[in-house]
Symmetry: C2
Subunit: 134 residues, 2 copies
């Protein structure tokens, strides 16, 4: 006899829209899902070039089509400015994956390899933070 574990879900994270409508990212009851955040910060070679920044954003928009990506956010440094805030990067690229394995699929995906090939000349540095949900 096989129990249908995969259909048993709990909710441990919720996204509430501006409309007050709650949407949920489901997690499994038995093997609690660990939403995986891959957050990349890019420092451009020419940080003052709006053209280069737009080109990178164009590349990231194409990159967002990798099918294992559950959510993506392309950001720019906000105007907030306190001593603990790092504001020197050019572009933020934040992704959700269902788990580490799907992030590894993304790393090796042809769309990702093509992105690195076509756009890596634009940046001088990246810092990546990979975090697994508690």
């Amino acid at each position: 006899m096989k129990t249908i574990k995969r259909r048993s879900f709990l909710t441990n994270v919720a996204i509430t829209s501006a409309l007050g409508v709650a949407a949920t990212l489901p997690t499994e009851a038995n093997t609690k899902k660990k939403t995986f955040i891959h957050h990349v910060y890019f420092w451009l070679k020419n940080p003052s070039s709006e053209a280069d920044r737009n080109k990178l954003i164009e590349g990231l928009t194409a990159l967002s089509k990798v099918p294992t990506i559950r959510f993506h956010h392309i950001g720019l440094p906000a105007s907030t400015n306190r001593s603990v805030i790092e504001r020197s990067y050019s572009v933020s690229w934040m992704l959700f994956f269902d788990n580490l394995e799907e992030e590894e699929v993304y790393q090796k995906h042809p769309i990702h390899l093509k992105f690195v090939e076509d756009y890596s000349h634009l940046w001088e540095k990246v810092i990546v933070y990979d975090s697994e949900q508690v």
Copy 2:
């Protein structure tokens, strides 16, 4: 005559759950909403203390009740390990806000002030990245 602008919405970000159900974060047609990400990385004074880490996670869980937070994610460094990956932090704390103003409400909220008062002795360093959606 007043037009009902606030009821006109476009969708520019989507979250797809593991079930394949698409949930959307609505954005206004006229004044496109810029989802604001506040991402904090904590370095503990005693990085090897599981008790301290759990205490911080307990504090963050309470902090997540600030009403302007639209989504929160508490994370730990993943096992991924490449040269560009920063893995030395202890805890990741990622928040979505509807805009910068709501993040400022969070900064001054009594729950946040109480969190800093009760838990800041645990950490030695924080780095914050605030990013506004492109």
